[in-house]
Subunit: 374 residues, 2 copies
């Protein structure tokens, strides 16, 4: 393992730093979630970051340390405020806990429900990106028809991506799925508008070429192109796309899910008879709801940084926030940071050697120079 | 009205040409749909295009003419085959009916369930694009939470779009909504990853600028940026995006809808008790299903060509194909071709004059030169 990555938990304790003030609800949601999480994870420890008076009740909890932070990044604070003015914010202090001093950091992963843009900017500023990564990305999961989850990235951190960025997303995403879902070689799909390799714009076609090269070098389990419907079919474990497309797909899905559940409620609430039928159907409808419950999917990973940062939905309730804590815990316990680091270096080193020729254009140059730097 | 656009129906008869052989099912779907359509539209006439023996039963129908075509473009035929080899295909012959000879065409609009790529390529080759339009686009409708429909384009014809293309899409889409849905000034949203004007990549930001200019010139009812969930909220009548993003959003929505209906069926089919509840809930579930029935949404418009071409889903049943015929009929009856032509010319002429200064960069040059050409 490279010394440039903070040491991750070996067998023992996993320590998470939690921005207790972030999100729409702050401690009224984060504290109950932390307590439930601690009860379920005897080997976990928490650093609870925020205003002392707001976290008073947690001071007596076992395996907990309150870390004071006097400021709070509000959901509508501009990036500059989060980054330059509120230097003692709970978000910033929570991320600071991941910073390695002599190779050791206070926490193994951080969870915040704060503003996504601010969280990414502060995390990037404090932690910096990993070797071989140009841009961090945001990864999250969607439910699929197989009853499992499809991981998808980037979901909005990068509006313009090169083919090399998409390759890096594929490698980081594979590391995430292997760490959190326990799949050794997750299958990777490149989001496109058709299955054939000739489909898509120039960037997508070049990304497909790079992904095939990485697969040929034994570094990726590349399935090929996938389309929007494949996310929910569960055709591949991982779907890779640029942040603009990923964000549109995610929000389109959220919008449709909201519309469909609204229509179901509307039809069952139409009159006394339909309401009675709804009462009878309640257990069935509840099981349906559980299948698509976004609270079970909460906790997006900010990948490519020198530290593990997880982002909870701002509107998360305690159950949803606990899911985000669980995901951060699994990622840290399974050494996600090492996995991302090792995979990206291995991919960069393997590709030019195994393909026998440099990749075309600046792709080759970039890959080669990054491999040299490694 | 410019003489460069084939004459559209005044008050009287609307004549559609129908590719009866296209789609997964051919005449077994298209003929019953045509018969139902004729019964519902006493002022409509149909040109039924295909192999004589396959259309024999229709020869006796009133207000119908069978136009022979010996070949069929298969769903998996490469573009070249559709374009260069099958010159007597039902698709090609149906589109030929839109070609103006001395300003008069045999049909006012054409409907086909054939391969989208082939249909667009043949239509573009045969008909050419309208003055002021660089690229044709594909527009379709999605249901929204208000109980209405949101029109969206482009859905896959153009994988790389400039800001000027997106402006043209907005103008063409506005003409479509005004013609088919009867809204004089439909509101237009630009699909983005946030509402603020600083969001998105450079192309999107420039497109936003052009759309604001067009709105200032009184040519568009521009709402501003919208996000993926706004499609189903019904925030705007029209959502504009490039073909890559549009296609991903459309297929993501299709995939999620399929998954959710699969889950509903699965939970109601779990055991004898849930099946009994499903029987009771059947009318409610049926009304829910009707709300999101994609057959009611069938019939995408190929906009920007010198002729009205509508694309049915390849897998359409007779009800869905009839919906596509209805949409084509409404578009022709309400002179969609004139509307697109007039709006695009008016926009190009109005923008530089009304803003008082040329738009920045090549946008301004293009708009100016197109306005001169008009």
């Amino acid at each position: 393992m490279s010394s440039s990555v903070p040491i991750q938990p070996a067998d023992g304790v996993v320590r998470l730093s939690v921005d207790c003030m972030g999100g729409d609800h702050g401690p009224s949601v984060t504290l109950p979630a932390c307590r439930a999480f601690l009860a379920a994870h005897p080997q976990a420890e928490l650093l609870l970051v925020g205003r002392g008076e707001a976290l008073a009740e947690a001071k007596a909890w076992p395996r907990c340390t309150v870390v004071p932070a006097t400021e709070v990044v509000e959901m509508d604070d501009p990036l500059e405020v989060a980054l330059r003015r509120k230097k003692d914010s709970s978000m910033r202090v929570a991320i600071n806990q991941l910073k390695a001093v002599d190779g050791v950091a206070a926490a193994h992963a951080c969870v915040s429900a704060g503003n996504t843009g601010a969280l990414m900017a502060v995390a990037r500023y404090v932690l910096k990106t990993l070797e071989g990564i140009d841009r961090p990305a945001i990864a999250s999961v969607m439910p699929n028809q197989r009853g499992g989850f499809t991981t998808m990235l980037d979901l909005g951190a990068n509006v313009d991506c090169s083919a090399e960025h998409l390759l890096q997303f594929a490698v980081m995403g594979s590391a995430l799925v292997s760490a959190v879902d326990g799949k050794a070689e997750p299958s990777v799909g490149l989001l496109n508008i058709g299955e054939e390799v000739i489909k898509g714009n120039e960037t997508i076609k070049r990304a497909g070429e790079l992904l095939r090269q990485a697969a040929a070098a034994g570094q990726l389990n590349f399935y090929g192109n996938v389309e929007g419907n494949d996310i929910f079919k569960g055709t591949t474990d991982l779907v890779v796309c640029d942040g603009f497309v990923g964000n549109v797909a995610l929000k389109t899905a959220e919008g449709l899910a909201t519309m469909m559940t609204t229509f179901i409620k509307l039809e069952f609430g139409r009159n006394l008879l339909t309401k009675l039928i709804a009462l009878l159907a309640l257990p069935v409808l509840q099981r349906f709801k559980n299948r698509v419950d976004h609270r079970r999917l909460n906790g997006a990973a900010l990948l490519g940084l020198r530290g593990l940062v997880f982002k909870s939905h701002g509107s998360a309730d305690a159950l949803a926030f606990e899911t985000a804590l669980n995901r951060a815990y699994d990622a840290a316990r399974n050494r996600l940071l090492d996995r991302v680091h090792d995979r990206i270096i291995a991919t960069l080193q393997a590709m030019p050697a195994q393909t026998g020729e440099p990749a075309p254009g600046d792709a080759g140059d970039k890959v080669a120079s990054a491999a040299q730097a490694a």
